[in-house]
Symmetry: C2
Subunit: 320 residues, 2 copies
């Protein structure tokens, strides 16, 4: 029997798992809806049952599952295999690896953005590149780092928290407890905050019409869509957002000097429009440092599958 | 004959070289004064002559020099072995490796702070630690990174420019062309700038007496020495400086989550006094992230020898 791994993408609403081959193909999948109110034990039981189902499906297809990797929306301890803190799940110190030990497979936990970075580097937008930074621009800003073809995680797997580096000392409050984190200026939430602020100052803006005259209807598209139509206030929002995003990317150019920065998450749906602006911002500033090599900036290509594929590839493929 | 390497610490004023054994001992040394006005070729000839002298001394002592490593105060290309930009030397694109090829030894160039980081990780303040950040707080802020016991340099050796990550978007101008870099707030030059600014606002401060009533006499000691004597204005300077330094260190905790941050350079002469304040600042903020492991913060111990020792250890020791 050929060996394969399972990748599990743990989210606040659902747990998506898949049997993944060494080429990054998802062969079989299943999904479970989560319910935080049912508590930690229910969560663990749900995952175990879900995994047993997939392991059996694999076996019926002459595949032996030897490893299960997890992408966790929060902070893990990759040595102990625990979820140490995951705000969206509402749990702390969940002994996931310990709980699953009787499955007889290797278990590895990592942060969800790390896992997405690994997937994009092996099979997606950064395929074939040795040094990769991934930024997911969603509710927060997730960060993943591949150095010399290897996922970089830091002690206990608690590094690569790229959204939580301060770019404005004494800036706006961040959920992490610090002030002025990159996440506070470059996430989709930050874009929405900024959109509302500029709308308030520009009653003439097209953004009001787009949002049906209510700030409650503002979302991550409002400013971008109106900026494309030439609205001046919307362009202020987009340019300001690009500045903060660009400064963060330039920081990572200087700190890591990677081959490529991959942008994922909701905001990345703006594709070329976003990319052209960010690339111009970084080009104008020599990618952070004069006489430094250009850093490619690209949009993630694996979409929602990145989590499952990357998680599966946290562990070695024995048949390779 | 036993194999050894030479380490070369290239500075703006002098070139210090040494034959270094695999245990980090400097066996023989020589130094040359540099003169920028004489140009690039004179600089290259000087280094070659200096190296030949050391290679001969080694040979007389039954040691065969197999590698020469360089710590360069600027930006190198570690693939080509060129000095791409070094403001203190006044040169661009110096083909150092090419020029030295007839010495018949392996040549490797890295940035000076990288080299110091490697030395401290192998033989100094961070000995035995796998993941290390070094910050040299001098005229600028140099940065070095060791990940999993290996020097991390980024593409072409142009990463780990830790001084040039922006911590204040739209902040003060940096020599690199960006605004608000860590270096602009955490270098010795930044401390002196801040000291003068606060002195100007506090005519009653003891710092005026310490500086003989002239801003021209202000140096990196002024604020620290007067703060120790309880001067209020001096304490404002020190606390502000610690805040910026601390925020940068917390950024590196979140980005790299190392075991230890080593502080070197002129400001590190403040030893325990500096350390206690920085550690308290970072402890109060959970080293960047709740439920994250503590990161040790220590003072560099190898002093001026770190450059020679680290440069020599850029290359493998064949007898090990």
């Amino acid at each position: 029997m050929k060996s394969v791994n399972i990748g599990v993408d743990v989210g606040g609403m659902s747990i998506k798992a898949g049997v993944v081959d060494s080429k990054g193909n998802i062969l079989f999948r299943n999904t479970r809806k989560t319910n935080q109110k049912e508590g930690q034990l229910a969560f663990l039981k749900l995952i175990k049952e879900q995994l047993i189902e997939l392991i059996n499906i694999a076996k019926e297809n002459d595949l032996k599952v030897t490893g299960v990797g997890f992408g966790i929306p929060g902070v893990v301890n990759n040595k102990l295999g625990t979820i140490d803190y995951a705000c969206n799940l509402g749990f702390e110190y969940v002994p996931l690896k310990e709980y699953l030990k009787d499955l007889g497979v290797e278990i590895y936990l990592s942060n969800d953005a790390n896992v997405a970075c690994l997937a994009e580097q092996k099979f997606g937008a950064a395929k074939g590149k040795s040094d990769v930074i991934l930024l997911t621009l969603g509710t927060g800003v997730g960060g993943g780092v591949v150095i010399d073809n290897k996922l970089f995680e830091g002690i206990e797997g608690k590094g690569a928290e790229l959204g939580h580096h301060v770019i404005v000392v004494d800036g706006r409050d961040c959920s992490c407890g610090r002030k002025g984190c990159f996440e506070v200026y470059a996430s989709a939430s930050a874009l929405i905050y900024l959109t509302k602020k500029i709308m308030y100052e520009h009653k003439e803006s097209l953004m009001w019409e787009y949002a049906n005259n209510s700030l409650d209807n503002v979302n991550g598209l409002t400013s971008f869509e109106c900026a494309k139509k030439g609205d001046k206030a919307a362009n202020i929002v987009v340019d300001t957002y690009i500045k903060y995003l660009g400064e963060g990317i330039l920081n990572f150019c200087n700190i890591f000097r990677p081959n490529v920065v991959v942008i994922g998450g909701g905001i990345s749906n703006q594709k070329e429009y976003l990319l052209n602006k960010v690339i111009k911002y970084c080009e104008d500033r020599h990618y952070g440092y004069r006489n430094s090599p250009k850093v490619d900036i690209v949009i993630a290509t694996l979409g929602n599958d990145a989590g499952i594929i990357g998680a599966a590839h946290l562990l070695p493929y024995k048949d390779e």
